[in-house]
């Protein structure tokens, strides 16, 4: 069965499902940041910024896959 994406409705205005996934991914990243600092995520990689971008994309993909 095809995966259906829930549409967010605020005050009668329909928002694209991608927007809600993007906002959720952003919230997850903001919550994860202190944890990443504690585990020393930035020190593991030579290019921490690329690693963090990849993590964002992975979280966004996971959210879309699971919810």
């Amino acid at each position: 069965m095809a995966h259906t994406f829930p549409e967010l409705v605020i005050g009668g205005v329909l928002l694209a499902p991608f927007v809600s996934y993007l906002v959720m991914a952003l919230i997850v990243i903001i919550v994860l940041r202190p944890l990443l600092h504690v585990v020393g995520f930035a020190k593991i990689f030579s290019h921490a910024s690329v690693a963090e971008l990849s993590l964002c994309v992975a979280i966004l993909g996971l959210l879309m896959l699971l919810f």
Partner: protein
């Protein structure tokens, strides 16, 4: 003697490689933003491209921080647009009046903030210009227009974030550590020269203070860089506050009356140690031992006057457009709001408008060449991307120039090119639209300049006078607002001196001397107050109370007498708390006496 060699950076056409990297990143991000906007069939791809220009900052952290503020300010601006249109729809004059008031409020807020926060405040103001004013004849489209703008901005932000990350835009934090360490070294040198009473000490003190305070907005921009950004930023902020405290301690230590005092030397060493600790914490991404805030001095009077003047400029421009009765004059009015808003966050708004007026014809000619000679009806995206390259890369290169005129021209040329070209899918190549937009931009800049000639922006002299009056008032009032620590309050005073220097304070030697005197007195009074708290609850508490009363009355003779009594009661050790407090009281008396003489000199003059 130490010989040093400075490595010359590799340059192409007199621009260093880093500038080329920046320019190419801007071009790639614009191309990506336009491509995604066309693909998603967004209504305003120009806004996505303009977002790239706005976020074209040399480092990744700065771009990300500004992006966050741009998104937030757009949400506020769109909400305000809907509210203004909803409240006073069907009444053109009322909408314009409401917008002028909102614009003034935003400029007032911007003047109380610094860095990208100030930008966010002005953006909230001119977003209303772009949404409510442009849709003044179709209020039912305000919501859609706001959504289209929001979507385009989000696409722009994602594009520049991806390009900056994948093309390895430099991080701010490594340079910030180097800058803070260099300032720390110079503060140590200053302390050495202050102790030897070398000439030109005040100038060196001012220069260092100005540099430390100028780093304040940049410290915040390292937060979004990595997951440890928040920790490093907190350490950097504490280091900056500690540097100001150390600089002040060095100045006190160099005071002729306090020379050789074990207390002031000890105080300087303690501050030096604090700065070293904070810098180490920043390098190793650890929380500093104590987290200090870096408060900013807010001059409400100057902000209110700037807000009122900006609202008046807008009102004058609106009146002109209403009187002229041109069709689609709302577009031109939104350009007035844009130029006026961006000008107020520069040191000289009128000069900014003049540059905007001079840059407009240059940009119009260049865009005309791009649209009607180079592209001339082309409808393939790769052609647009290639044709845009020389114009965007050239403007971005100019933006990095150290020459103020060139960098300003680059800064106005890029957005004008994007605004006039208005890339669309399909591109219309309409000469009439080209001419109308060009005319609207020139009229907007000329009209704003005329309004600013009629009602000039707040002058530097006035700003300096208000800052000095505020410094005097705060010194007399005493106390610390919002439970600030003495170090934080000293940083706030330092930020006031920074604003004073930005307003051309270096040339006004008399006011500068008084400003410095107020700074010295406030700092030492706060330190004295903190020291006297140590005596609370002990046998010497009544003496501390007397000292506090004497400080309030600025009674230096009593203060010296109390210091004498403290010394008599102190144990024989030189480093006891009582001896420290006595030394602090004597120094306070000296500085307050000297401040009094500066004040009487001013009154006599």
């Amino acid at each position: 003697m130490v010989a040093t060699t400075v490595e010359q950076p590799f340059t192409i056409a007199k621009f260093p490689l880093s500038s080329w990297g920046f320019a190419i990143r801007v071009w790639l991000a614009i191309v990506l933003a336009l491509f995604v906007s066309f693909w998603l069939q967004l209504e305003s791809p120009t806004t996505a491209a303009l977002t790239i220009f706005v976020l074209a900052e040399p480092t990744r952290g700065q771009a990300l921080e500004k992006a966050g503020f741009r998104l937030l300010a757009t949400v506020i601006g769109v909400t305000a647009s809907i509210a203004i249109t909803g409240l006073v729809s069907q009444a053109r004059d009322l909408i314009l009046a409401a917008f002028a008031v909102w614009f003034g409020v935003c400029i007032f807020a911007a003047k109380l903030l610094d860095g990208y926060r100030a930008y966010a405040a002005v953006l909230s103001g001119y977003t209303v210009g772009f949404i409510a004013t442009q849709q003044i004849d179709n209020p039912q489209h305000v919501f859609e227009s706001g959504m289209a703008r929001g979507a385009a901005i989000a696409v722009g932000i994602v594009s520049i974030a991806v390009v900056n990350t994948l093309i390895f835009a430099p991080d701010r934090q490594s340079r910030l550590v180097a800058q803070l360490a260099a300032i720390h070294r110079r503060v140590r040198e200053y302390a050495r020269s202050a102790f030897c009473r070398e000439a030109g000490n005040s100038t060196a003190f001012m220069a260092l203070l100005g540099e430390i305070v100028a780093l304040r907005p940049e410290i915040a921009s390292i937060v979004p860089e990595t997951s440890s950004g928040a920790v490093r930023s907190a350490a950097a902020r504490s280091a900056a506050v500690a540097l100001v405290a150390q600089l002040q301690a060095a100045r006190t230590n160099g005071d002729p009356e306090s020379k050789g005092s074990a207390w002031s030397a000890g105080e300087w060493l303690r501050r030096d140690h604090e700065v070293s600790e904070d810098l180490l914490a920043m390098r190793s991404a650890r929380w500093p031992l104590r987290v200090w805030r870096a408060p900013l001095h807010r001059s409400y009077r100057a902000a209110a006057e700037s807000g009122v003047r900006a609202a008046t400029w807008f009102a004058i421009a609106s009146t002109f457009y209403v009187w002229a009765g041109w069709p689609a004059a709302g577009v031109s009015l939104s350009f007035v709001a844009l130029i006026a808003a961006l000008g107020t966050i520069t040191p000289n708004p009128r000069a900014f408008t003049a540059i905007a007026l001079i840059g407009a014809p240059i940009a119009i000619v260049l865009t005309g060449i791009l649209e009607f000679i180079i592209l001339d009806g082309a409808d393939a995206f790769p052609l647009l991307a290639i044709a845009l390259a020389p114009f965007t890369v050239g403007s971005a290169l100019l933006m990095t120039s150290k020459n103020l005129l060139w960098s300003s021209l680059g800064r106005v040329n890029l957005p004008y090119t994007l605004l006039i070209l208005a890339p669309g899918n399909p591109q219309t190549y309409n000469p009439q639209a080209f001419l109308t937009t060009s005319l609207f931009i020139i009229v907007a800049a000329a009209l704003l300049l005329a309004a600013q000639m009629l009602i000039p922006p707040v002058s530097d002299d006035k700003r300096r006078m208000w800052l000095l009056a505020e410094a005097r008032r705060e010194l007399q009032k005493g106390g610390r607002p919002n439970g600030e620590t003495p170090e934080e309050a000293t940083f706030r005073d330092a930020s006031r001196i920074g604003q004073f220097l930005t307003a051309g304070g270096a040339q006004d030697s008399r006011a500068l001397a008084e400003m410095l005197s107020c700074f010295d007195q406030s700092a030492i009074l706060r330190l004295c107050d903190a020291k006297l708290i140590q005596l609370t609850g002990g046998p010497l508490a009544p003496l501390a109370g007397e000292a506090r009363e004497a400080i309030v009355k600025r009674d230096t003779a009593t203060l010296r007498a109390i210091a004498h009594r403290l010394r008599e009661q102190a144990p024989q050790r030189k480093d006891s708390i009582e001896a420290d407090i006595a030394a602090c009281l004597v120094l306070t008396s000296n500085i307050v006496d000297r401040g009094g003489s500066v004040d009487s000199f001013r009154k006599a003059a």
